[in-house]
């Protein structure tokens, strides 16, 4: 892993770069949770059709994500993207099923579910999470900063472990986001509140996975296993590899089950998570720990130059 780290760097760097480009050029396609849209309220005076039938009929219109809710005893509420007058009429027609006529009560425009406050606060929260993780790792790994043995050739400051963990985290979150920017552009896939949840989950998983490997490096440094820092990191990765892969496999089992057997509305949620988990595992093995080695080599070179 350590020796071939440049391959991983190029691979990850390319993916992150492509993701960033996709995000900058096309951006994510925001769903109605973010943009708002239209809200139609209707009533079925004689017998309301089954919700599944309404859903199928409306989905056939191809208006993107449409949420349909039963309201009271005979009403329905339909939230969709902003509809033109023509689309509005099409939607109304689609609601008439098996001779059961829908009478429109209201047709209004609605704002986003995800407010300005949540968006602003989310950014602060993410930055705060990153800072706190760096601080916690710096604290938990403080002993790796102590001089261990001459064979290790000096040490790497513990806060650098935190920074590397956060770099891996950014990598793991950027790739699924970029993928959805591509999916949004080419397939019209929208992102919704579930997508945000998937990103948050990836964030949690990524740090968790990285720390397990770092913990082993910490232990092996203390026991002076390995001839050099590179060697210690390599041994640690190999020792934790079985666990990393097995744990990811169990999560992947659940996600693949959800992707295949689960409902249509959580399909893209499962997909986003699957990408996040796969890259989270990959980055903790092939990216995060080798980065420690590179950082150490780089700072040693700098010291020599001085």
């Amino acid at each position: 892993m350590v020796r071939n780290r440049k391959i991983a760097y190029i691979f990850s760097g390319t993916l992150v770069l492509v993701s960033f480009c996709a995000l900058i050029i096309w951006g994510l396609k925001p769903g109605i949770d973010f943009t708002g849209g239209s809200l139609l309220e209707a009533n079925y005076p004689n017998n309301r059709p089954d919700i599944a039938k309404i859903q199928a009929s409306v989905n056939a219109l191809g208006f993107g994500n449409v949420s349909i809710q039963l309201a009271g005893d005979s009403g329905i509420i339909v939230r969709s993207k902003d509809l033109s007058q023509e689309e509005h009429q099409k939607l109304l027609a689609a609601l008439n099923i098996d001779g059961k006529i829908a009478e429109e009560k209201n047709f209004n425009s609605i704002g986003p579910v995800i407010g300005k406050e949540l968006r602003q606060k989310s950014w602060i929260a993410i930055i705060l999470v990153a800072v706190m993780i760096i601080l916690y790792i710096a604290f938990a790994f403080r002993k790796v900063s102590l001089p261990v043995s001459s064979s290790q050739g000096g040490t790497l400051a513990s806060w650098k472990y935190g920074v590397v963990a956060v770099l891996a985290l950014i990598h793991d979150v950027t790739i699924p986001t970029g993928t959805f920017a591509l999916l949004g552009h080419f397939k019209g896939i929208e992102v919704d509140t579930l997508f945000i949840t998937a990103l948050l989950t990836t964030l949690g998983f990524s740090v968790h996975d990285t720390i397990v490997v770092f913990d082993r490096i910490r232990e092996n440094l203390k026991k002076q296993i390995g001839l050099s820092f590179d060697d210690t990191v390599e041994i640690s990765i190999r020792q934790t590899m079985a666990r990393s892969i097995i744990t990811s496999m169990t999560v992947i089992f659940v996600l693949v089950a959800l992707l295949i057997f689960g409902p249509a509305s959580t399909k893209y949620f499962s997909l986003a998570l699957l990408i996040g988990v796969v890259f989270g595992t990959y980055s903790s093995i092939c990216l995060a720990s080798p980065l420690l080695v590179s950082w150490k080599k780089w700072s040693e070179k700098r010291k020599l130059r001085k």
Partner: protein
Amino acid sequence: MGYFIAAPYLNPGSIFDRFPFRLGLDLKGGVHLVYKADTSSISPGDIGEAMAGLRDVIERRVNFFGVTEPIVQVEQTGSSLNPLEKEQRLIVELPGITNLDEAIKLIGATPYLEFKTERPEAERDEILAAQKNNQRMNEDPYFVSTQLTGRYLKKATLNFDRTTYAPSILLEFNDEGGKIFAQITKENVGKRVAIYLDGAPISVPVVREEITNGHAQITGDFKPEEAKELVRNLNSGALPIPITLISQQSIGATLGGITLNRGLWAGIIGILAVAVFLIIWYRLPGLIAVFALCIYIVLVLLLFKLIPVTLTAAGIAGFILSVGMAVDANILIFERMKEEVRLGKTLQTAMEEGFRRAWPSIRDSNISSIITCIILYWMGTSMVKGFALTLGIGVLASMFSAITISRTFLLALGLKEIKWYVIAK
């Protein structure tokens, strides 16, 4: 293991119904409230901004009394191009909570704070004269509204006078509000400025000089209890615009019953696959891990019921992630045990070492998860909060289950033969 999750849904009328899960809007539906906002005092250009502010205040307010993950959305009636003719509404959807009246009361109790200045005398007399003839009854003859409302409030604090112990409320405006307040006080030196709360004047002080520090003091005739409640209400959100409830109806789930069932079955299949895998790969310890995980899942679900936590798709995602982390803790321990056995240690020592050595990584990875949860819970609203809460509870419970339950069973069984434990060398 699937049974424990599925039972409450699949066997209606079972013992589980005594403590039902509190399911969120997307899974179970709830109630759809529509409020009408009175935007008459706001210039058309500012309406969008004011409604967005109103949305955020109400969302914060609903979250304030428990994580219920509401949906709060601005609605605009009609499609006419003139914004003045559009009616501005706010849709608030709450999950099927039991105390709906209380929720409505809480949203309604959100205070509407407003500063008004004296109306010029000529105008005042004109309105008073008209009102004698039962005209212009909706107008306030004495004061006119200003731009300054609860929208610009940063913080309210309760003070007591040192000598009289009379309570007073100190209002602190944000930068923008501070500037408006400075302007108002500058233009009205020697005149009265009225502070209105929910449409009634609570204090009418005379301005002595321009106030530029963005602080205002209300010394109304409060009882300490009233003042305390008012400060709490102001801090949890003062309304930028007054609102009235115009309709209320029950609604179904956004994700729908079929979705929920399919999702549950998919989850059960996934978890069963994990269980089978753990048993085949780790044999006896795997079986014990599956058993510990069952206890863990029941424990967490019980906590969700008792707290109670509103379960939505986001909340369930948090829970599933925590199950993943619980599985991971077991895997960490067992992998470590296998390593120790390979190093030639006896089974008993290997078990104890496995738990002891795996602990730091379980601890550090879980603490970093908990830190993330705390920040997300604290900073986030609605959905993010729900996710952080279920993940946080799950992670805490998983640290407990991996270390205590798995360990106790494994050590208690104390099987001597190595073939029960290690499959691959």
